[in-house]
């Protein structure tokens, strides 16, 4: 029976992919992409994931998990697999799979789609599931600790530094995305600002008024933020109030930085926790709604399969399709960050090892599907409109007439009139040069929702989409700053012991300030950059994220070899080799390319020359020294990432070679086997019903 289903699935996937192939020269329907994706996911889950879990990882349902052994009713809680799936998915899915595919759509719809599917099934999902199982077998220890135990201090230190840096870059680039979405948009700004008092209100409700009634508090919060979307429209229509929320990007960046600092030092129950409940509900609701709307509407994809920009002169960011599509789309295909979550909260919830396939592999498949929906939302736009929204003024100029002329000359016709009508429909004054991906995604989502559920409400849908993106970007920003603070305090504690105490207020203030200053700097430079900043920051974040994935896969490979499973080590080694290749090639090009659109040092040189010649317009000349410094700094940072990456890979190789030669290696840190308690005796948290149990 299963075999028949498998064959049917394979046939469905093949027909859908064939449909995509046959339609290469005419517009294809998004439903083909959705069908191909779902079939590939089901095949990957049913066959590859099952094989990896059983044969490579030797998943053993009879083995007691940390949740069973340390069950304390608080953080170690054996949890029903579908609940744990919900928790894990909510934790891994952030704005990354929405922004990356939107940017990568400049290459056409095909490269991004293929990488999202193949990368997830063979790379990202395998990474997530493997790390989840390895951590579950090690009492839920973190990736950094596992690296230290299994490889040695070098691997452990590299993982720690890598995590800290990636956090800073992630927050900076996400902050930039929000700032670009709010720039000169009173409606967006007012709505996003309103989410802060709403979150505080929910926080007070959950702590003081009705402690722990999370559903009730979240329902209240969601109703209030929806009201805030409406209220934003009234403010936008009011001549006086409108002015209060109409800001250029620099002060908005200041607000975001100040907000991040305050959120990091306030107690979590007041702002961070309630905001996260809101963002989780909005995220799950919107993703489900988007999936339904795409199926109902089944829009035509208007972007070509491949654009001319695969040769490297793309307007959103420079660089050829190889390696840059694989760097731009990290989350959604392979995301190293997931290894931190898979070795954090989730392993403490696992009720049985046999659940890791659903929770680890399955959650990542769903995230990959979110990325597919983002690429559909970007490519169903008229390509001319897509490029007009996403191209920075530094590339096409700030005058609309010049911009549409340049973009039309690329073969993607668009007119000023068309852009004005669109901006008017969306309730914005302009949509030109709204870089960062959020506005173009919001236009795409508004078109989908508007066409499915009523076209008169386009501007409401647009600002709902902006609010939805902003809420969980800010939620990642809070949480990331806080985690960064803890990591920094841990490091500083080695220098001066009291600084390591997480509740000592001077240390809290100092470390929070340092972390916020770190990402605040990159955010500031991104804001003053006439090209929009995202073109530099996003690839850098992508490189950092893939580097972290490569570290996680190195640790996994070393453990497979050490435990005598050399024959199957290719399961993690293959994605590792691919990621190491794309990351290294991309990093090399970012540092050394002579093309200033790609190479950071070349860009710094070109800018310095033009500054010295006096060839720069006055506003650019004023910030040029900072841009030059930042490009050089980014080049060093890229080089540093590559060095850390190869250090870990070499360390992994050293441990593997020693093992194969029979020399001593660090002992396995796996917890010894204990039989799981009898299932009947165990009441799973969130048991659905008697039939729903296992």
């Amino acid at each position: 029976m299963n075999k028949i289903a498998g064959v049917l699935l394979a046939a469905g996937g093949a027909i859908a992919l064939g449909g995509i192939a046959l339609h290469r020269h005419e517009p294809i329907n998004a439903l083909w992409i959705v069908t191909a994706a779902v079939c590939i996911y089901l095949l990957g889950y049913r066959f590859y994931a099952a094989w990896v879990a059983a044969r490579v990882l030797s998943v053993d349902g009879s083995r007691a998990t940390p949740a069973q052994r340390y069950d304390n009713g608080r953080d170690f809680v054996p949890t029903h697999r579908w609940i744990a799936f919900g928790h894990h998915f909510a934790a891994i899915a952030g704005p990354g799979p929405l922004v990356g595919p939107t940017l990568a759509a400049q290459f056409g719809y095909l490269p991004g789609t293929l990488w999202i599917l193949v990368g997830a099934v063979l790379g990202g999902c395998v990474q997530d599931m493997t790390i989840l199982l390895l951590s579950t077998r090690r009492d839920g220890r973190s990736l950094g600790q596992i690296a230290r135990d299994e490889l040695g201090p070098i691997g452990g230190f590299a993982a720690l530094i890598g995590t800290l840096l990636i956090m800073i870059l992630l927050i900076a680039v996400l902050g930039l995305v929000v700032v670009n979405a709010m720039k000169h948009s009173p409606w967006s700004t007012a709505t996003v600002f309103a989410t802060v008092p709403v979150a505080i209100l929910v926080g007070v409700h959950l702590k003081r008024l009705r402690p722990g009634r999370i559903l009730e508090g979240s329902a209240l919060g969601v109703a209030l933020v929806l009201l805030a979307v409406l209220a934003g429209g009234w403010i936008d229509a009011h001549p006086l109030l409108r002015g209060w929320f109409d800001w250029p990007s620099l002060p908005l960046a200041g607000f975001v930085i100040g907000y991040g600092w305050i959120a990091a030092v306030l107690p979590v129950w007041l702002l961070l926790a309630p905001r996260d409940y809101l963002s989780t509900f909005l995220k799950l609701g919107t993703v489900a709604l988007l999936a339904i709307a795409i199926v109902i509407l089944h829009p035509q994809i208007r972007m070509p399969a491949l654009t001319a920009f695969i040769d490297g002169h793309g307007p959103l960011f420079g660089g050829k399709i190889f390696p840059f599509v694989f760097i731009t789309i990290a989350c959604g295909a392979v995301s190293g960050f997931h290894a931190l979550v898979a070795s954090g909260t989730t392993p403490k919830l696992i009720a049985s090892e046999s659940d890791v396939r659903l929770i680890g592999y399955g959650s990542m498949l769903l995230e990959s599907f979110v990325a597919i929906m983002a690429i559909i939302a970007a490519t169903l736009l008229d390509p001319g409109v897509y490029f007009a929204i996403n191209t920075g003024a530094g590339v096409v100029g700030s005058a609309p007439a010049a911009a549409v002329h340049t973009i039309s000359s690329w073969g993607f016709p668009v007119s000023v009139q068309q852009m004005q009508t669109l901006a008017h429909e969306m309730g914005e004054t302009t949509l030109f040069a709204r870089t960062g991906g959020a506005p173009s995604l919001a236009v795409g989502m508004a078109s989908i929702f508007g066409s499915t559920f009523g076209r008169g409400l386009l501007s409401l849908w647009y600002h709902f989409a902006i609010m939805f993106e902003a809420v969980f970007i800010l939620s990642t920003l809070d949480a990331g700053t806080r985690v960064g603070r803890f990591m920094l305090q841990d490091l500083l504690g080695h220098v001066y012991a009291p600084l390591g105490r997480t509740s000592w207020y001077p240390s809290v203030l100092l470390s929070s300030t340092l972390i916020v200053a770190g990402w605040g700097y990159f955010l500031y430079v991104g804001v003053i950059d006439p090209n929009g900043g995202v073109n530099i920051l996003w690839p850098l974040f992508g490189i950092a994220n893939q580097m972290l994935a490569a570290i996680a896969l190195s640790v996994a490979t070393a453990i497979l070899v050490k435990s005598g499973r050399l024959r199957h080590a290719w399961v993690t080694l293959l994605p590792l080799a691919w990621l190491a290749t794309v990351t290294t090639v991309a990093a090399w090009q970012k540092v050394a390319s002579a093309d200033p659109r790609i190479g950071l040092l070349a860009a710094a040189r070109e800018l310095a020359t033009r500054l010295a010649e006096g060839a720069l317009p006055a506003p650019v000349a004023a910030v040029a020294p900072q841009l030059i410094f930042n490009q050089r700094l980014d080049a060093w940072l890229t080089g540093f990432f590559t060095a850390v990456l190869w250090l870990v890979i070499l360390d992994m190789g050293r441990v593997c070679v020693r093992k194969l030669r029979g020399l001593p290696v660090p002992a396995s840190s796996e917890a010894p086997y204990q039989p799981a308690p009898r299932l009947g005796a165990l009441a799973l948290a969130g048991e659905l019903s008697r039939e729903g149990g296992r």
């Binding site: 928790h87 702590k207 722990g212 926790a273 989780t280 803890f486 948290a685 019903s689």
Partner: protein, 65 residues
């Protein structure tokens, strides 16, 4: 009650149960059950439990890109 209504009732109850468990809405009740089974002495109050749970949740990596 007709079988259909029973089935609908069961589905709705299961959905609400899932939502409560997934959001952590029932965490305190679960903690009380656990406490009664495995510990002596008075359990934490609802408010103290909520505060401690949020603190523990946000001291590690629990959100990502």
């Amino acid at each position: 009650m007709s079988p259909l209504r029973r089935a609908i009732g069961r589905t709705v109850r299961a959905a609400v149960g899932w939502l409560r468990a997934a959001s952590g809405d029932d965490a305190y009740e679960r903690y009380l059950t656990h406490h009664a089974r495995a510990h002596e002495g008075p359990p934490l109050s609802r408010r103290a439990f909520y505060e401690e749970r949020e603190k523990a949740k946000w001291s590690g990596v629990s959100r990502c890109c």
